[in-house]
């Protein structure tokens, strides 16, 4: 039976949805080990047990290090764990850490995975989700980065004991990159864009005001996204950008408002389960991929929908 290693840079008291998906996937492959590049509380370690994690490898955080610390923790964990497959998150930082260690240990890496079978066949998206491919490693350790919203989070019932081991890392290489400034972002109470079940996104058509988009997102308990036209205009933070050069989302419901549906924009949302579009132009390309389309003014449609949801919930 193959064994899986899951790597996290950090593990908060409540593991994120994407992290729980990684744990669920690892458990389905076999005897998961978890490695974390920072301290983990006892309570969190116990939660890992419910995913069948028997072994936790931890190394104290090093906040001064941008990259080398994570690299040396993952390298040490891979060497200690004898895992066949290493699962990490699909974000840029984790991809890069995994990709560099794949080079170091002469393994391989597959990005944008949506599943890994028990015999280590990886299903992944290709060409912005327009293709689905299957691939596998032909030797060496396989690193896989998993897209969020791919796996049903399912903790197992029988919680076993987790052994916590301090990871002995070789002294990390000299830090070539210095962190010279940190601007903290405003953290919203809404679900994380990549993990949300519902995403409401606004484009140039919101004309500077995301109020109606936010109201509908809140009525649905969803996240707020945007097109590049809207983020470039400075109406909303760049983090909200969905698309080829922004984040990729595949929620249950994607509501597109005042977005034309350019190819680079669709690249970030076309694997959503259900797409609803509101656009005042009947010829907008977004209608070609929408399960339900409304030709109309988003400033009227969105508030009315938000109001109706609140009324039904009351």
């Amino acid at each position: 039976m193959p064994s899986a290693l899951v790597f996290f840079t950090e593990l908060a008291d409540a593991p994120s949805k994407a992290q729980r998906e990684l744990l669920t996937l690892a458990a389905s492959i076999g005897e998961p080990t978890v490695a974390v590049a920072s301290e983990v509380s006892q309570a969190t370690a116990e939660q890992l047990a419910s995913y069948g994690v028997a072994k936790l490898l931890v190394a104290p955080a090093n906040h001064a290090s941008f990259l080398e610390h994570s690299l040396s923790v993952l390298e040490a964990a891979v060497k200690q764990s004898t895992a066949d497959v290493v699962l990490v998150a699909n974000d840029n930082f984790n991809r890069e850490v995994a990709a560099r260690i794949a080079v170091r240990v002469e393994g391989s890496i597959i990005t944008d995975a949506i599943n890994v079978s028990a015999d280590l066949v990886v299903t992944k998206d290709e060409l912005a989700g327009s293709y689905s491919a299957q691939a596998q490693a032909t030797g060496g350790v396989l690193f896989v980065t998993l897209k969020p919203n791919s796996i049903e989070d399912a903790p197992q019932s029988a919680a076993a004991e987790v052994s916590i081991n301090e990871l002995a890392t070789e002294t990390s290489a000299a830090e070539k990159v210095r962190i010279v400034g940190t601007e903290e972002k405003v953290v919203s109470d809404r679900p994380k864009l990549t993990e949300a079940r519902v995403v409401v996104a606004g484009g140039r058509g919101v004309n500077g005001d995301f109020g109606a988009v936010e109201q509908l997102a809140d009525a649905l308990g969803g996240a707020v996204g945007a097109s590049r036209a809207a983020t470039d205009a400075g109406w909303i933070s760049h983090d909200a950008q969905i698309g080829q050069t922004g984040v990729t989302v595949s929620p249950q419901v994607f509501i597109s408002a005042g977005i034309s549906g350019a190819i680079q924009q669709k690249a970030g949302m076309q694997t959503s389960k259900c797409i609803i579009a509101i656009n005042k132009d009947v010829d907008a390309p977004v209608f070609e991929i929408a399960d339900f389309g409304i030709v109309g003014d988003l400033a009227k449609v969105l508030p009315q929908a938000a109001e109706e949801i609140r009324r039904r919930q009351a």
Binding site: F66, L67, N92, R95, E96, A98, A99, R100, V103, R104, E106, S108, T111, D112, V121, E126, L127, G129, S130, Y131, S132, A133, Q134, A135, Q136, A137, T138, G140, L142, K176, V177, R178, I179, V180, T182, K185, V198, D239, Q244, T245, I263, Q264, A267, Q270, T271, C274, I275, I276, V282, F292, G293, I294, G296, K300, V301, L302, P303, Q304, E308, R312
Partner: protein, 273 residues
């Protein structure tokens, strides 16, 4: 005291020749290879070329002896992407073209590109796009930094170069913050589409590009064995690739005053609320 280094900068910018994203793209179900017939310079690599050329312009220009070498690994027609980079201002080109490279995964691609950078020699900076628009892995730049033992400054939202200290700094999104990261050369820099606005070559630039040279290289020229690259050297095998059924247009209604309610009805019917 170290003496100030005023040597001209030698920059390699990596450009990939990829199927145009504006058209339907296909993976052949038999060979499992991407149809590369309608290919162009990856639009995200235009930002890399712009960053490299703009950096030289900020340091006294090409007259000061700086070099920007546009390099691509790809089939015969990849020379078109190198030519486009030359029109945008790169000073010369290198084309790594070898049948043996077909089917390379990222680990092997980065091996070949790192060998190319070492073959060019004395390179101060490698500039890349944030992602190729065909493979979409965003990992080759980090792997190059690993192999070349260069500083990794990737996913740059903006780029600053201090000529006196020869330090490069970038802004990059990371978790819940935006970091400013700095490193001395040599470095691998990957730039996002936030970093600049790629220039359109004018007539003069197009004419000037015709005089620039492109060096052709094979795998053997880089000292690599044919079995170490391509499908043979790669440790990922693609087993199958299938087009997802195209999304079909569903119902489209005109708002006659009640569309917000129709939207909620639709969500309810689909059991989405």
């Amino acid at each position: 005291m170290t003496e100030e280094n005023t040597a001209p900068l030698k920059i390699v910018v990596l450009v990939k020749h990829v199927p145009d994203v504006q058209f339907d793209r296909h993976i052949d179900s038999g060979s499992l290879r991407l149809d590369r017939s309608e290919s162009v310079l990856s639009e995200l690599d235009e930002y890399a070329v712009e960053a490299a050329v703009a950096l030289v312009e900020s340091q006294g220009g090409f007259a000061a002896g700086h070099e920007v070498i546009a390099a691509s690994m790809g089939g015969k027609s990849a020379s078109n992407s190198i030519k486009k980079a030359l029109q945008m201002g790169a000073s010369s080109g290198v084309h790594l073209n070898d049948e043996a490279l077909i089917g390379s995964d990222t680990v092997v691609t980065s091996k070949a590109l790192a060998a190319l950078v070492e073959h060019v020699g004395n390179v101060d900076l490698v500039v890349t796009g944030m992602s190729s628009t065909d493979a979409e892995t965003s990992v080759v730049p980090a792997q190059l930094a690993e192999r070349l033992n260069f500083a990794q400054l990737t996913h740059a939202l903006s780029v600053d170069f201090d000529g006196a200290s020869r330090e490069l700094s970038i802004r990059r999104d990371h978790a819940e913050s935006t970091l400013t990261l700095a490193a001395a050369l040599p470095a691998v820099l990957s730039v996002t589409d936030q970093a600049n606005d790629p220039r359109y070559p004018n007539f003069k630039a197009i004419m000037a590009a015709k005089k620039k040279s492109i060096t052709e290289l094979s795998v053997a020229d880089l000292g690599l064995a044919a079995e170490a690259v391509g499908a043979a050297g790669s440790r990922v095998a693609v087993l199958s690739a299938e087009a997802r059924p195209a999304r079909e247009a569903g119902t489209v209604i005109n708002d006659s005053g009640q569309a917000g309610i129709a939207l909620v009805d639709f969500l309810a019917e689909q059991k989405l609320i």
